[in-house]
């Protein structure tokens, strides 16, 4: 058991306040037992340090891959966040936006499962799944847009065709009516001429 006023091991590892360290130092100078204890601590540490560090057998490094890089939005956001001059404004704007959104929506609290730890293989699989999902979404969206565009064009063509047909029918009806009017006038003229001829023959007789 140490007779030091403070823990000798705290003294050895420099974990005492200044006044405590001084008091312990004074004590150690006059106490052979505590000096031996300190010597044993030094010996144990020296023995431990005989175990050398090893060189790492393979250097660790990452390649510059856009997949692992933050998006342009994220980089811009980080740059903004890192700027102390704009930090206050950004914080105030975010707080205001958050208050407005929260007051309008008031979402129901939901449990969100923590994301599982990702390995490289897991990340690749996730990226593949994400890429496939995005691709499928993009294809579906493009097909839907194309179908919508085709339907709209068909509707427009049908409407134009119907309009043209109605105009042509109307024009034809006008022409028929004009023809009938002409024919009617011609018949009336013929009837009048026939009547005139009959009366002339009667007078002659």
């Amino acid at each position: 058991m140490s007779c030091s006023p403070f823990d000798l091991r705290d003294y050895y590892f420099k974990d005492l306040a200044e006044n405590e360290r001084r008091l312990t130092e004074v004590h150690v100078k006059t106490c052979a037992h505590c000096r031996e204890e300190l010597e044993r601590l030094r010996g144990a540490e020296a023995a431990l340090l005989a175990l050398p560090d090893e060189e790492i057998p393979q250097r660790i490094g990452f390649v510059s891959d856009p997949v692992f890089q933050p998006s342009a939005f994220r980089r811009g956001w980080d740059a903004l966040w890192g700027s102390s001059a704009r930090l206050g404004f950004a914080s105030a704007a975010m707080l205001s936006a958050a208050l407005v959104v929260f007051s309008l929506t008031r979402p129901v609290p939901q449990f969100i499962a923590p994301a599982p730890a990702l390995t490289r293989a897991g990340m690749q699989a996730e990226m593949q799944t994400d890429f496939s999902k995005r691709l499928n979404d993009a294809v579906a969206k493009a097909v839907a847009e194309s179908e919508t565009r085709q339907a709209r064009q068909t509707r427009e063509l049908l409407a134009a065709s119907e309009t043209r047909h109605a105009l042509e029918t109307q024009a034809m009806m006008v022409r028929v009516q004009e023809y009938l009017d002409v024919e009617k006038k011609r018949m009336n003229t013929l009837i009048l001429a026939s009547n005139d001829a009959a009366s002339v023959n009667k007078d002659t007789r």
């Binding site: 091991r9 010996g43 144990a44 023995a47 005989a50 990452f62 692992f68």
Partner: protein, 188 residues
Amino acid sequence: MILRAVEDADLIRKARRGDVEAYNLLISRWERRVYNYLLRIVANREDALDLSQDVFLKAYQNLRKLDDPARFAPWLYRIAHNEAYSLFRKRRPEGETEELQPEAMEGAATVGGNAVFPVELTLAVSGALGRLTADQRETVILKIYQGFKFEEIAEIVAAPVSTVKSRLYTALDLLKTELAPVKARGAS
């Protein structure tokens, strides 16, 4: 003291903006220390290397969560600690509820039967470390070999400073007894 032209904090800021080369430079500064920390905990080179790679990958993925770049070292070792103990849990036999222990370190850290440190003193040290509990051994490694402060070790292993000190001092009491004869022979 070695003056660094670019501080770790600058590299962290660059890495956060997607500068992979800055992160690679940061790795080159820490990989040897992290590897040796893990090697002394798991006592297996392949595991230590695999874990080191996982540690730096996770650190990169979570770099934005690091509040204070000046606290990078304890933050990085906290990840390493979690990775190592996660490995212990995976390898623990089903139903075992006792304290988690790394691989046996009898004699020396070995790879395929070959001693990692084939000198008498280092063998003795390695063996003595192997007879400590996992928590005691990790505390000794973090304090003696890695030079962390007690508060930083407490942060890394997620335990109170008093617990950290207790583990270290108990371990040193055991090591003093075990290593005294070997040290005496080495000195003579």
